[in-house]
Symmetry: C2
């Protein structure tokens, strides 16, 4: 069972074939699909449920004095006040998700910059979600606009020292999985640079 990367790439796992797809539910943030899928070679078939959503973005945004820009807001999923990096949905009209990232940063925090780096892209949850989250680093941010949150958003903006931010991720005070994933890509990017 010892594998090297080449062997994984030539692996023989087969994709299931979707024979029938149905939209079960339509909400402003996601849709629920059911599909009948078959893996003929293994004589298996079943009905599976997935969550269809547009791609998302999030941004590790640093001010000119190396502070992390955080947004604090009520979250309807776990019914908690959550401290996160800025982010949101990719707009269908955007030719590249970076445009959505720039807009979300400006709307949620009022901050803006020209120094953007793509840190990576993660599959939100390939078992049940169709979509990806694009992760960005925005450096040298300065306060340029008024906040312009969406109708139901009440957002408090905080800036905090980078080491303190890392500590809060470690202790779980900052716990949104996609924020923690962005931190991972930031650390790996930083290690590579140094």
């Amino acid at each position: 069972m010892n594998t090297d990367k080449k062997q994984i790439k030539s692996s023989t796992i087969e994709k299931w074939v979707v024979s029938e797809r149905q939209k079960l539910l339509d909400t402003p943030v996601f849709n629920i699909l059911s599909h009948r899928s078959t893996l003929e070679a293994a004589g298996k078939s079943g009905t599976f449920y997935t969550i269809d959503a547009p791609d998302w973005v999030n941004i590790i945004a640093l001010t000119t004095d190396q502070k992390v820009i955080l947004v604090e807001q009520y979250r309807f999923g776990n019914e908690q006040i959550s401290l996160e990096i800025p982010g949101g949905m990719v707009d269908k009209g955007d030719p590249d998700p970076i445009e959505s990232a720039k807009r979300e940063l400006a709307e949620e925090t009022g901050y803006s910059t020209k120094k953007w780096t793509k840190l990576g892209k993660v599959a939100v949850n390939p078992a049940i979600f169709t979509n990806y989250c694009h992760l960005y680093l925005a450096e040298d941010c300065t306060l340029k606009y008024e906040q312009a949150p969406d109708e139901h958003e009440i957002i408090h903006v905080h800036t905090i020292q980078l080491p303190e931010f890392m500590q809060m991720v470690k202790t779980g005070e900052i716990d949104h999985s996609l924020v923690v994933a962005a931190v991972s890509q930031y650390i790996l990017w930083k290690m590579d640079k140094s």
Copy 2:
């Protein structure tokens, strides 16, 4: 807008109050709820949709020779073959999620160990999910059982050098957001130790 941790903790963001909750859809992996919520102080109210699921676990499992144990399988969400660390749902009957982690590791890979460390816990997506994912490190794993996957699971097990695993996370060859989040907690834990 300069904040220190103490100020964030005394922040004045208010929680919305849920007045009516309805289950819209029931699947084997998640349920969809709608709830009418109100934030009286701000004169706001609306209907919001959330995804209710049991807690999850995932495990960075290392063999006695420091290789990472990976599972490769077809994923119905993004319809891709995905390379991940082992994981799954927390069983209602388990007094502690670590029991589920131990069982998932054994069932998906056949590996087992007594050396477990909790790396942390992330909110899957507090905006829409009710649940958390518990992240573990399992060291000194040895192959002890036959694989015992669920009915629809076809899983190939791989073991790969730790630096190569990190590289595959960095390049996006390993891209499940909860795996990347576990990597973040592993790196921060490792930094703290050294």
